[in-house]
């Protein structure tokens, strides 16, 4: 049994692999997006506030 077959059997989890992996992929994607969204949005908002401050001081 080559390494690939072994990996294949393990990944297939005798038929249930599809469900298990899709759950973990969905969870991973959700959690990553959930984690990144507030940080990025805060960055964008701070940038917007900075521009406005520059405009005010510049104007």
């Amino acid at each position: 049994m080559t390494l690939i077959d072994e990996f294949y059997n393990w990944a297939m989890m005798d038929g249930h692999g599809v469900y298990v992996w899709s759950v973990y992929v969905i969870s991973a994607v959700t959690l990553v997006v959930l984690g990144a969204w507030p940080i990025r949005a805060e960055g964008r908002l701070r940038a917007r506030v900075t521009n406005r401050v520059d405009e005010d001081s510049g104007a």
Binding site: Y19, V20, V23, P38, R46
Partner: protein, 248 residues
Amino acid sequence: MGLIKDAFHRMGSPRFFYHGSSLWVRGLYVGGGLGLLVGSFWGLVLAPPDKYQGHSFRIMYMHVPSAHLAEMVYFACAVAGFVYLVWRMKMADVFITAAAPVGAILTMLALASGILWGMPTWGTGWVWDMRTTSVLVLLFLFFGLMALRQAIPRPDRAAYSVSILALVGVINIPIIKYSVDWFATLHQPASITLASEPTIETSMLWPLLLNAIGLYVFIAGVILAAMRLEVLKREHATEWVRAISKSR
């Protein structure tokens, strides 16, 4: 006594919260992420498959923590609602605004994993039993919180009503749970008894615990970060926010 009151009061000020929380967010993200990675790896690779359900059992390591945490987030929103109604603390309302969407997404995650767990194990995606149905109802309660806040023209004036709705919701959760349970046992075909949790040997308990703690810590970080965003949104016209942007 003065110290606690003072800390409670200071914790209530958005400015103090904003400056104090940036470190916490990073720490919670790293801690939570680590816990989730190790827990998932352990659950996916090391833990033995379940005698009856085989490998699909590994979905439990993600489904149970997210379903449980989703409910905890709603209870937390209700507590925050109570705090706002009693002490009129702005930060309590900031918490509800930030936590509701995160709770809704967690509930959807729990539903999705519940469906994907049900398919191979019991042949049907959706089982009208007490747990899955009350998670669905929880999703509607989260949508209710967000829909009400969305409908109110002035967001800073929405806090009072949203807090009331959160409290009304939390009082109804046990009632809904019981009535759905009564409904499920009335119509439950005998073959699928979901109520009895598959017996968890200790070797399977550790990854579940690790994943649960990891998820708790990570989501706490996410909510904190979302609260920082909300504070900035609400206070962007104030002096201290403009000061931050200048200093950068």
